[in-house]
Symmetry: C2
Subunit: 403 residues, 2 copies
Amino acid sequence: MPETSKRGQIMPASPIRKLVPLANKAKERGVKVYQLNIGQPDLPTPQAGLDALKHIDRKVLEYSPSEGLRSLREKLADYYHRFNIDVDVDDIIVTTGGSEAVLFAFMACLDPGDEIIVPEPAYANYMAFAISAGAKIVTVPSSIDEGFALPPLEKFEALITPRTKGILICNPNNPTGYLYTMKEMLQIRDLVKKYDLFLFSDEVYREFCYTGAPYISAFHLPGVEQNVVLIDSVSKRYNECGIRIGAIITKHKELKQNVMKFCQARLSPPLLGQIVAEASIDAGADYMLMTYNEYVERRKFLIDGLNRIPGCYSPIPMGAFYTVVSLPVDDADRFCEWCLNDFEYEGATVFMAPASGFYTTPGMGKREVRMAYVLNKADLGHALKVLTEALRAYPGKTAEAPQ
Amino acid sequence: MPETSKRGQIMPASPIRKLVPLANKAKERGVKVYQLNIGQPDLPTPQAGLDALKHIDRKVLEYSPSEGLRSLREKLADYYHRFNIDVDVDDIIVTTGGSEAVLFAFMACLDPGDEIIVPEPAYANYMAFAISAGAKIVTVPSSIDEGFALPPLEKFEALITPRTKGILICNPNNPTGYLYTMKEMLQIRDLVKKYDLFLFSDEVYREFCYTGAPYISAFHLPGVEQNVVLIDSVSKRYNECGIRIGAIITKHKELKQNVMKFCQARLSPPLLGQIVAEASIDAGADYMLMTYNEYVERRKFLIDGLNRIPGCYSPIPMGAFYTVVSLPVDDADRFCEWCLNDFEYEGATVFMAPASGFYTTPGMGKREVRMAYVLNKADLGHALKVLTEALRAYPGKTAEAPQ
């Protein structure tokens, strides 16, 4: 039997999805599983998007252009202009979800052995895509005690080597919900400029900022317009994750050409998803406000509830729909598995993503989990109750205050 | 401005799509462009697939499982059983088009520097995906004079090094239309077994075999069940290329686990495409027969027509819907560009894929193009007329017989 690649062997299993088989087994046993592990909102897809499907009058569902439908790219340009992001249609390339945008950004910017610096905890799949590209993610730990603010810039600078090609930020942040301030963004800008690095900026959650503090796009930063590689997702924004539509936006001409070669190799992003995405962008302010208000409520409800559980601590997330929570347990990986395998309360259990998979520094996040507040308040309430009981019953609970 | 990756720089532009900007310019000038460059059939998507879209009653277009919807995988298993391919639901992983199946197969099997041997001409994007994975494609030239039959096995064996990890075949073949015989497949099997290699087998066009000779799947070969990595496309089969649904099929347990990590990183294949694909598999024998008969007619019409043009030669393709044609020109790349830039006949021109991009051996395919017979007979007739006139007018035509 031939041996598989070392790359495949060292690829981390997704911390978000690796416990799915255990969750499925729990469901087979008849246990209700509250899914806090994944950013799969239960909110409705815009009706305009669903209607667009019903009104398709094509006889052939053909390939789209490799860079995406022009009409969608035009709508996206208008959308970005509303956020004072000064990009042109030709700066926008449609991808198969934000996932492909990250993969192609790495493939087109990084060679094997190249390094990018990322504050951790960080979205776990960045690591997976970096391994796919043979590149190395170097992390700067941020701390739950400081609400996951940007670590001091000296810590980034200390990690710069001749192989450093970029800095990656996610703003608002997945998994922490942190929103970078203008001061922090300008610090990043200075570093990017000083070392002429790429600035990979994942801004998928820009619509979801809750504290009144402004969302700062990497494209708002003067002087690094050619360095910014903006990662976006349309499907995530409009509660239609399954349509798999994202975008990669850059003004760097050679980079655009390189990305297009990867796009041409995979021929076309999904046609149907593009049709739904285009209609969804017109969903209107009411729809976005409904979604936004719902997250505001859920966020308050979940975070308040978590911080009332003895030994639990969650900073108050400022954006996105995730939070990283410290739990009074010996090992959050073990605890999450235990919840699915060995525990139920009133016929239910909780499915959380162990935070260890969002760190590369060994031992970090050992007592943390990521939760997505993508369930309605009633379900979140039940989930909090189940979590409280699980923490009471778990054999590996710790009395000490969480770190 | 930061420098892009060498990987991106050496990535070949797709020979199928790189001339699209020239074609678009021709269209802007009002020229009718006959698109023979790309395997985008004009035949209708099955009505059952289109209807499935209209009947979607979901309120949320959510992620599917990373491995694809179970109901689709079950239908696919049944489908393969009809071809005596003995695979289980759990051997099937749904991908975003056949493209992603190739990428993930390479990522999960090959490390940077690893080699796979491929008869050429070969589907150009194999090269692109190999470069993405840092792997090396080593080619064995097949010859138009021998109808692109499998080159002698000694030529493969001579290229085997300690880094050789696999052999890749496409059967029926894109771009040549060649259909490998049982004798040839057993020769490949023997080599795969002797050196314990992966056998990547792209069998996207299995429904389209025209000569009565049987389609031999790599899974029909005894003794290499663990070595076979079957690449498939659902969207291509049912004239719905834009839905982006393919599959990777393997019985190699560790490989399945590795592929799943790449699948989890990109979260989910397109949900809507899976819904259409599932309905399309039920399109029925009538639909497939209609498609099949249409290609039989077009194939005969195109190949006869090509072989009547002075200096042109096309072998008779046995399967798929492509052929590689030798033209009486100095340089097919230049000729294809010239057709789009500088030529029209009665307001029309032809868009062909230069074959040089399907070879890695320098100089090979210099006078060849790939044509896809995905247009109706009337259009193919016009395209043949335009090609005839283009060959008369082209400044770089050659009198000599093509090689």
